[in-house]
């Protein structure tokens, strides 16, 4: 069946694609024959939707750079007659613009795939559009879970891949009297709700739970309460300027009272990466702990080669974050799958990416057909004085469990028991 096509080009090209889809949509040699015959260029267009301004601009810039590098690499190995063209959109952190830009990509620009969105808010906003146009969203950021949409491929970690293994490591070593801070939206709320539940199960105690807006740069009230409560550790789910202010404040607190030094009372984050360390004044976050499914300092041959490519494009000093590596991986996976199967229909691309592991900079990547989520490794890193992370603990890739289905014993026979 000939579907709406996202391949752009002259009318002849479109006809050729139609012919291709009717005959041998999965056969690259045939596909090339068709285009040699017609003699026109076919372009794969992929939407890249990241905010490079606004409160989480550092993360957005890293994602966009990762995507750009992937496009550059794919261009080196494109078959003749096929081009790849990214369609960049920069919503600058504004909800309304995410919608407008995503709609333009899907409706007017011929994109059927968008790699993008950082916050859960923006992801939830654009998913209905992605569904309406039957596109595929590639979401690469760690998030709070409780989602599994058929029009989304998730390559960022969810709680069983970040928070659960983090607590497995942390609670026996530092204690279970925790103070929770978070951004005043779903990431902060849900991460802290889950943390409360997990710490409760472990017999621990929550000494406080406070929220700040993303743009807030005054964390004094939180810091005063932390100083008074003296927790064993602090779970930091703040985002952007409020997170930087809090970490800087913790450094001042530690200078005054060694109880709050990172080795005694660490601040642990599940989304703070290489790309944001430069935003924190005076290396204030040094020695604090972070989880990620990728660190620049990972010692693998694949990563060494990858970092050389990054250095060639962005300079030697550039540290790679899990956001950079995630966006790079998603763009490559998306484009290479389209090239491999000769079709950009989301249903076909989705089926193919779920069919088996692919070697990537994140390791051997498997997308679970049940949840559309990637299996991911867990790494815990300690922030080094000059930036980057010293890796303290690693676990091999584990399948995502976005609804935490496997985390609890079945509760059949509880209050849902059949009453006769």
């Amino acid at each position: 069946m000939v579907e709406r096509t996202a391949w752009t080009g002259r009318d002849m090209g479109r006809k050729a694609i139609g012919q291709l889809r009717l005959t041998t949509s999965r056969n690259i040699p045939r596909w090339r024959e068709v285009f040699c015959f017609v003699g026109c260029m076919v372009t794969i267009r992929i939407g890249i939707l990241y905010s490079t301004q606004g409160p989480y601009a550092a993360v957005g810039r890293d994602c966009r750079d990762g995507a750009e590098l992937a496009i550059q690499h794919i261009r080196h190995s494109l078959p003749a007659g096929i081009a790849i063209e990214p369609v960049y959109g920069d919503p600058a952190g504004e909800s309304r613009r995410y919608l407008d830009l995503a709609r333009a990509m899907l409706r007017d620009e011929g994109c059927r795939h968008i790699v993008g969105a950082i916050t859960s808010l923006s992801r939830k906003d654009i998913i209905p559009l992605i569904e309406k146009y039957d596109g595929l969203l590639w979401y690469v950021c760690p998030y709070e879970g409780f989602e599994a949409n058929e029009n989304v491929i998730y390559t960022g970690a969810c709680p069983n891949q970040h928070l659960l293994p983090l607590f497995d490591y942390l609670l026996p070593r530092y204690g279970s009297r925790a103070y929770l801070v978070g951004a005043n939206y779903v990431w902060g709320w849900e991460m802290n709700r889950l943390a409360r539940e997990l710490i409760g199960q472990a017999g621990g105690e929550i000494l406080g739970e406070r929220y700040l807006p993303l743009e807030e740069d005054n964390a004094d009230r939180l810091l005063a309460e932390v100083e008074q409560q003296r927790p064993d550790f602090i779970l930091n789910n703040l985002i952007g300027p409020s997170s930087y202010a809090f970490l800087a404040g913790m450094r001042r607190l530690a200078d005054r009272d060694p109880y709050f030094a990172p080795e005694n009372c660490p601040v642990v984050s599940c989304d703070l990466t290489e790309c944001e360390l430069g935003e924190i004044a005076g290396h204030a976050a040094t020695s604090q702990l972070c989880t990620a499914s990728y660190f620049d300092s990972l010692d693998t041959p694949h990563n060494a080669a990858f970092k050389q490519h990054v250095a060639a494009r962005f300079g030697k000093g550039r540290l790679v974050s899990s956001f950079f590596a995630g966006a790079y991986t998603a763009v490559r996976l998306c484009a290479e799958t389209i090239l491999k199967i000769g079709d950009d229909a989301p249903v076909a691309v989705r089926a193919d990416v779920r069919s088996g592991p692919v070697e990537t900079v994140l390791g051997e990547l498997t997308i679970d057909p049940l949840t559309n989520h990637a299996a991911l490794p867990f790494h815990l890193g300690r922030i080094k004085e000059r930036g980057g992370f010293e890796i303290l603990n690693s676990r091999p890739a584990v399948a995502a469990d976005p609804y935490l289905v496997g985390n609890r014993a079945p509760r059949r026979g509880s209050h849902l028991r059949v009453v006769r």
Partner: protein, 194 residues
């Protein structure tokens, strides 16, 4: 604080004609750890009951669900495309605790499960409480009789007699009605004053 609701190991029954939406619903329920069956015929009350029922409220007829209106023994979710008040009323009448609008969006399934289970739990608890209260109202004359008996036997005022009876019930960890019944029946001796 709320615990993470989980549905692992539960069995969901979808009462709906098979279609693409039902396939999507089935996949999403399986992602959430439930086993799923689909049928478009009345639920057989003799067979093992599912833990959760999702019913097509657009086309459902009353015999599809074997229980009296409003007496659903399991959480019930209405699948509804229509906006017709009659169909919404049908869903309410049969005890739907949540609804999922058609076309079914995957993201609507988990919230509906949580809501319907919660509402169902609340209804069961309310029904238990109501039964308890009705029973106590029915037995209220016994309390009155027991208070009169204590007043006469101990030569005290009504308020003091009531207080004695209440203290006795608390000590024995029984309801006032229960202890009153035992006193009136002569099983329990009259409580001592003071």
């Amino acid at each position: 604080m709320s615990a993470t609701p989980t549905f692992t190991g539960l069995h969901a029954l979808i009462l709906h004609r098979p279609d693409e939406g039902v396939e999507r619903l089935t996949r999403q329920l399986e992602r959430l750890g439930l086993s799923v069956s689909v049928q478009w015929e009345p639920l057989d009350s003799d067979r093992a009951q599912p833990d959760i029922v999702l019913v097509d409220a657009d086309q459902g007829w009353s015999e599809l669900l074997p229980w009296p209106a409003g007496r659903s023994p399991v959480p019930l979710i209405a699948l509804l495309g229509s906006e017709a008040p009659g169909r919404i009323a049908w869903a309410i009448e049969h005890g739907a605790g949540a609804l999922i609008a058609k076309p079914i969006a995957a993201s609507a399934v988990y919230p509906a499960l949580v809501l319907a289970s919660h509402i169902h739990g609340e209804r069961l608890a309310s029904a238990d409480r109501l039964t308890d209260l009705l029973e106590r109202i029915r037995l209220r004359p016994l309390v009155h009789t027991a208070v009169l008996a204590i007043m006469q036997a101990r030569q005290i005022e009504e308020a003091e007699a009531y207080h004695l009876l209440r203290r006795c019930a608390m000590r024995r960890r029984l309801t006032m009605e229960h202890i009153a019944a035992e006193i009136v029946a002569g099983i329990e001796p009259l409580p001592e004053a003071g």
